[in-house]
């Protein structure tokens, strides 16, 4: 009996990510969910700019490459023109939380019926480890060699907390993938985000706290520990908004 094999929706192309990068895990989870829901033939993915810019090579479904940060805008267009298709975006923190903040906030406010997978690794990976809007206070990066000074650079952007203030979005959850238990939990969240779209409920965003061993300057193992020690205290995991659950509670 096969206990585990590569999901069909994940292509055979070797991933270009650094050793130990958790992008690969999240790619696989998305592919597994596409397989389990049986939606590979009608799914359209939107790739971002950043480390995951080549995500279009790794999924067997149709993919579109969006301009930097504009993935939710492209997804809005695709979904409105083809409401029967399942549309997801896969974005990093430089794409979604920096240059694409406007698109993210407004697609959430409009409650577009799309699924957003947001990888937060607190750094700009592809360009070589510069400070991102999500970098932690005091975090050493290429452009903050003495640690992020919040008086000079401001505070990190907490996307889930920020979007939860809006009435629009259907579902917001923050998960991580630094151990087996958390990976299973992340898959449940991603599946719910896709199911919400199939049910026509609206905007679902899953923020995945990820590691960047290369630019954090750590081994893959130390990077996973750093998530537990530094990232999660600042970015607490959990469900930030679930309108369907809120509605059910109101009815009771």
């Amino acid at each position: 009996m096969v206990v585990f094999k590569k999901p069909h929706a994940l292509s055979d192309v070797p991933l270009h990510y650094c050793p130990g990068c958790t992008h690969g895990i999240v790619h696989r989870l998305v592919a597994e969910v596409i397989d389990e829901l049986g939606i590979e033939g009608k799914t359209i993915g939107i790739a971002p700019v950043g480390c995951s810019v080549m995500a279009y090579n790794y999924f067997e479904c149709d993919m579109i490459e969006a301009a930097h940060g504009r993935a939710p805008a492209v997804a809005t267009g695709v979904k409105r023109a083809n409401p029967d298709n399942i549309v997801f975006t896969y974005q990093g923190d430089g794409d979604l939380a920096s240059i694409g903040t406007a698109e993210t906030v407004h697609s959430a406010a409009r409650n577009e019926n799309i699924t957003v997978i947001f990888i937060n690794n607190a750094i700009y990976g592809m360009t070589g480890g510069q400070m991102a809007p999500t970098s932690l206070p005091g975090q050493v990066t290429q452009t903050s060699p003495y640690g992020r000074d919040v008086n000079l650079c401001g505070y990190p952007v907490k996307i889930c907390e920020m979007l939860a203030q809006l009435d629009g979005p259907e579902y917001l959850e923050r998960v991580t993938v630094n151990n087996v238990k958390q990976i299973k939990n992340a898959k449940r969240a991603i599946k719910k985000a896709f199911q919400n779209q199939i049910d026509g409920k609206g905007f679902s965003l899953i923020e995945v706290i990820s590691s960047c061993p290369t630019n954090w300057g750590m081994t893959p193992q130390a990077a996973l520990k750093w998530i537990d020690e530094k990232m999660i205290p600042y970015y607490p995991l959990g469900v930030y908004k679930d309108r369907s659950a809120e509605k059910k509670e109101d009815e009771q």
Binding site: M1, V3, F4, P14, L15, P19, C21, I25, V180, Q221
Partner: protein, 70 residues
């Protein structure tokens, strides 16, 4: 007997699977270099495998296939 199959050429030798295995089945092959130039993972103690698939769940590059009772 449980069986582990590796797509060895795609392995980047990050060692996350080695750390997560509860039965110490896996190790990086220090004397082998794959096409990518990494020491790939190998099963040094395959009899101890309980097919929990923790290694495959943790693998960022999806190179491990796990079969139970082969």
């Amino acid at each position: 007997m449980n069986k582990l199959t590796f797509r060895t050429d795609n392995c980047k030798g990050c060692g996350l699977c080695v750390d997560v295995c509860p039965k110490k089945v896996l190790a990086l092959a220090e004397d082998v270099i794959n096409k990518k130039g990494h020491h790939p993972v190998t099963a040094v103690n395959p009899e101890a495998c309980i097919a929990c698939a923790f290694c495959a769940t943790m693998c960022p590059d999806c190179i491990i296939e796990v079969e139970k009772g082969v």
